[in-house]
Symmetry: C2
Subunit: 189 residues, 2 copies
Amino acid sequence: MKPKDGKKVTAIYDATVALIGEVGLAGLRMSAIAEKAKLASGTLYIYFESKEHLLNALYSKIMMEGTIQLLPNITHLPVKKQLYVIWESVIRFRYGRNDEMIFLDQFRYSPMISEENSKLTEKFISHVEKMLDSGKEEMIVKELDNHFLIPLLYGYANDLSRYLVVRNVALTEEVITRSFGICWDAIKA
Amino acid sequence: MKPKDGKKVTAIYDATVALIGEVGLAGLRMSAIAEKAKLASGTLYIYFESKEHLLNALYSKIMMEGTIQLLPNITHLPVKKQLYVIWESVIRFRYGRNDEMIFLDQFRYSPMISEENSKLTEKFISHVEKMLDSGKEEMIVKELDNHFLIPLLYGYANDLSRYLVVRNVALTEEVITRSFGICWDAIKA
DNA sequence: TTTATTGGTGAATAAATATTCATTTACTAT
DNA sequence: ATAGTAAATGAATATTTATTCACCAATAAA
């Protein structure tokens, strides 16, 4: 028998993501995905049951790569250093993969998203919450509810990376250090 | 002759916005808008030429109310105070009208958005940039490129208000003061 | 080689959805 | 009152778009 071509799934994902960046989720067509991935439209249905399944699979993949997998095992490091490491990887990821981010933002509110996928942010957030809490115990982070601090980190990372991409600003080491410095000034005790 | 009913446009806008919050832009149907607004679907076309026109009109309206019109004439006040006033009104607006914000975020990347509408953020941003620049001159704001500072303010406001809505946290005076304090710590010299 | 099996194709079909339009209703001016 | 006009309706139509399927191609095992 003929085996499935592993590269095709990647090609489909890549095409989908690129199209979302061009026309948004509302403008996304299966035919356009097939064309961009250089496949017949029927081939999409060999790899995915439906548009909905394809998009849910893609969502889950990006969420893993963009959040969960960015959490290294560094609980032994000082809180500030832990935050920096995560800041750097999050910014780099979002900067390099802006279209994916647009997709996540739009798919989250679409009626296609599965039960399971809509819970996927929690794990990442609770990890950051734990970090902030131990920072508060050590008296180096402001004694404030996490609902003040989390959106700062999350929202800033989000918007900063998008802003840099849109304005064609290169993501240098310095940009990362500076932006982290700003965050740290905001949350340090 | 029978005059157009002014309230219908509002009803259509309200229905559209509510639906976006429920099913996102990708799930938005003209028939659903009509039903929620308690109109026949044909009536939508008396008030708007097409779905695209309806959504562009709505986008422009929300952008005006949510950004441009929030800029009061307060250039005589100290920079920190100016920022606080704008911070407060932006947070209140976004908190109270979360569905509108979801719409803005999604429509911005859709193929339906008009040339004109895609430029609408600029005016607001350049106003804030001017404020930050005069803050730098007065040496009370960090001497950093605005592309570090703008996303902090914009992204934090965005995410904070969404986070509070989703987690059902009330928007008290204290929340506004505290969050502004965090911002100010981040950007002050 | 040959055969069996699955991948791949894209035109055809089915389903979903925006838009139209013949008709009715409500309002204004005369 | 009544006529004239435009709003309002919603079933019918047009359009768009996801999905299927009859057929062909490639690969692996026999």
